[in-house]
């Protein structure tokens, strides 16, 4: 008889366990269908040189990060110093300035420094939609052939950089060299 009495408790515990696991899942981070696909095409003005047109080809050629940012996005500001640090260590970073205004974005870069090699200016979010952007900041990792190999949604803190990005960058750089 005793085991049978325990059955409802076991059931309740199992359901609670599922709820608990559900709480651990970060539902904001969606798997991107763009992983292992070529960098999506776009044609936009350069943020810093308005006369210049940038396309996805300007982002391609070496292992590089593509960081989607905006001056109105506070968590972008939170990760900005880390991007500056990464650039200082020799990692190429391109920017996609998402749904922003040019003066505000330029002010943002004057305050925080400019770690980006090229910055595409996307005030209407056109390229953002091609890249499946839904929550800034987002960071893509491109291999030397311009294929998206990883994507992170949310700020790049030290742990994310150490665990998600540096090993992959190292591996992709080695692949590109061989």
């Amino acid at each position: 008889m005793t085991p049978k009495i325990l059955l409802p408790f076991a059931g309740v515990l199992a359901v609670l366990g599922l709820f608990y696991l559900g709480l651990q899942v970060d539902s904001r981070e969606l798997p991107s269908p763009l992983i292992d696909r070529p960098a999506p095409a776009f044609e936009l003005q350069s943020l810093t040189e308005p006369d210049r047109t940038l396309t996805e080809q300007d982002f391609i050629g070496e292992v590089a990060l593509v960081n989607v940012f905006a001056s109105w996005c506070s968590s972008c500001w939170a990760e900005h110093s880390n991007l500056v640090e990464l650039e200082r260590r020799g990692i190429t970073i391109h920017g996609l300035n998402y749904r922003d205004e040019r003066p505000a974005a330029l002010r943002y870069l004057r305050r925080g420094g400019n770690p980006y090699t090229h910055i595409a200016f996307d005030p209407r979010g056109d390229a953002g939609m091609e890249w499946g952007v839904y929550a800034t900041p987002e960071t893509f990792l491109l291999d030397a052939n311009g294929r998206i190999r990883h994507k992170h949604v949310g700020p790049l803190d030290a742990q994310v950089i150490r665990e998600e990005f540096l090993p992959r960058i190292e591996q992709l750089t080695a692949e590109a060299a061989s």
């Binding site: 539902s27 904001r28 969606l30 798997p31 991107s32 269908p33 763009l34 999506p40 749904r99 209407r124 979010g125 056109d126 953002g128 939609m129 091609e130 890249w131 499946g132 952007v133 839904y134 929550a135």
Partner: protein, 163 residues
């Protein structure tokens, strides 16, 4: 909110709001409640169906039809433009799924990784059926139990008398 503080006259707030609205550059996104023109009734129906079946990826419990998010406005614009240029509903959904993944669909497709999702109502029904069948079987077994034996009757009689 501002008008209720009492520091600023309401009319001034209205004027400021209008000036602000006029200064905002024509955004491409379609804000909620914008009247839209279509070339045909089919296009209107397709648009209205799609915005109710696709999810806003920023505010994940809202459809595009009800979301205030800027991204939802962009997505509505894209659906509107594609619909007006003659794309079918499937083409629009494919376009968004290729960029945002299956998650944008409120109606998930039946495929390997959604089998459990689609199957769970049937699994629950089957589990319920099994439990029901077992309960019925046990009760039936109780019914078919023999009547009380003479020894049982004697025992009951003794209890009744309080012995």
């Amino acid at each position: 909110m501002i008008g209720s503080t009492g520091f600023i006259p309401k009319s001034l707030v209205t004027v400021l709001a209008l000036v602000w609205l006029a200064a905002v550059p024509m955004a491409q996104a379609i804000p909620l409640g914008t009247p839209l023109e279509f070339d045909s009734q089919e296009q209107r129906e397709q648009y209205n169906k799609l915005v109710r079946e696709l999810r806003c990826t920023v505010c994940q419990s809202e459809t595009l039809h009800e979301s205030q998010a800027a991204l939802a406005g962009d997505m509505r614009r894209r659906i509107y433009d594609m619909t007006r240029s003659g794309a079918s509903g499937d083409e629009v959904v494919d376009f968004l799924v290729q960029r945002y993944g299956d998650y944008v669909r409120y109606r998930p497709p039946l495929q390997a990784n959604t089998l459990l999702l689609w199957g769970s109502p049937f699994l629950a029904l089957m589990a319920g059926g099994v439990i029901w069948w077992r309960v019925v079987r046990r009760r039936r077994a109780l019914l078919s139990d023999e009547a009380l034996s003479d020894a049982d009757r004697d025992a009951l009689e003794r209890f009744r008398r309080g012995e």
